[in-house]
Symmetry: C2
Subunit: 265 residues, 2 copies
């Protein structure tokens, strides 16, 4: 059973994992430093716990004690109980969805581990936007892909906003970061994957004219600059979603959805 | 040539079309009442003008005068020039992308007009989120659909956020509102459309098992409650995007992208 601790002071040192949740830059460094991430809302906390993640602590207003009883019973972490106004003073915003939990960040998987049994992998290059990362994780999981690999500059899938947009898919879908991005094409080849780079270049093959290989990796780049030259050159195939004239492009989450659908196992 | 008017006072009555741009509720009523919408950024203003829309006025900081010269030359609307700090005081946020324009809201098209020559139509029910409406307009246009029809409760495609997410596709893609939503299925039938309701129900046909009709309308509902019973009953086909076990669903913009791709003309 969680240790229920009533607090009145929003400046209490024990609440430091929950301060200024709207300050993206601050939070990114704080959460990595302390090895935590923030799960927001009863549903998300439940999913995180169901995925085997451990709460370091919880923060909630009294009226959510009932809703959260299963989680409170299942953990020995401290649960800080404050009135809603004080919680707002700590976090910087009104928490609609009940509770917050500072979760222990699980150990990151290795690329090798993630690729070992996968047949369909989405590889993302330099997607710095948390909403895009979250949307992509959700789409990829829904469409039966097995895993996601991220370049070093990609946004954190365990950031609060990513988790929310992903509807918790970040907890169940295997993902890993590739440290040596330059060697990534070779790495995928070594693991038996055929690579398909999504691009807007004229000489790319329409995605519906391609039969996916037994083990396929689809690579998407950021919306502005697009996929790097290196990846475009080093991938086995360059593919395009044919589009109507005069339209710049689909957003990266939409093109990923279409690509995963087209390559569905 | 635009009438260049230098102002110092952020409270100047002539700036009233630009006040409190972050207050969604206020802006929704103000913009409809005054028959305007706000175009943000040089690129968006250029696209609006290229689509035949007329500026009522412009608002910009001196350093953007050069970038906006083509537009300034092409209109006789007043262009209010203020320093950036004062602009921020008017609008409530820092305008990164240069200028703002209060555009005359174009007359809404009739449903009949929009359907007359269309072969592929996306019909949206009660999507109240501006980001979703914007994303859907962008996807639909990119994938060669001809038009979008909106239920009365759908968010405004000409709201600043929708326009931004749509990358201006709202200016070129024909769209209309259906006032009598209950009669919408019959209306589409009368116009020769076969209707395909996107649903999560068990007895729906997988979308890749269907051959789209010559004139096809795809209907999507909101993420929470899903498409209304009425539409599910009255549509010619009920279709589903098959998904991996344990995932709730795709978000509405992603499922629309896949549906439009699958039904591409």
């Amino acid at each position: 059973m969680a240790d229920l601790i009533a607090l009145d002071n929003p400046r209490d040192e024990r609440l430091r994992d929950y301060t200024d949740l709207r300050d993206v830059q601050l939070r990114q460094s704080v959460e990595h430093e302390r090895g935590i991430y923030i799960a927001e809302g009863t549903k998300v906390i439940e999913r995180a716990v169901a995925a085997g993640h451990e709460p370091k602590s919880l923060l909630l207003a009294p009226r959510w004690l009932g809703t959260l009883s299963d989680i409170l019973e299942s953990t020995s972490a401290p649960a800080y109980v404050l009135d809603e106004k004080s919680i707002e003073r700590v976090t910087g915003f009104h928490v609609h969805r009940g509770a917050l939990a500072a979760m222990h960040r699980p150990a990151e998987r290795s690329v090798h581990d993630v690729l070992a049994t996968a047949r369909r992998v989405l590889v993302a290059e330099d997607l710095v936007d948390h909403t895009n990362i979250g949307a992509i994780m959700r789409n990829v999981a829904a469409l039966g892909f097995d895993a996601v690999l991220l370049s070093p500059r990609c946004a954190d899938p365990l950031y609060r906003r990513s988790i929310k947009v992903a509807m918790g898919a970040v907890f169940s879908l295997p993902w890993a970061r590739i440290d040596d991005w330059y060697a990534a094409p070779a790495l995928l080849r070594e693991h038996g994957f055929t690579t398909y780079a999504m691009t807007l270049s004229d000489d790319a093959v329409p995605i519906d004219a391609i039969e996916p290989a037994e083990r396929s990796a689809v690579i998407v780049g950021s919306e502005g600059p697009g996929l790097s030259e290196h990846w475009q050159r080093e991938s086995d195939h360059r593919v395009i979603i044919p589009m109507a004239a005069g339209i710049d492009s689909l957003n990266v989450a939409a093109s990923t959805a279409i690509a995963c659908w087209q390559f569905r196992p």
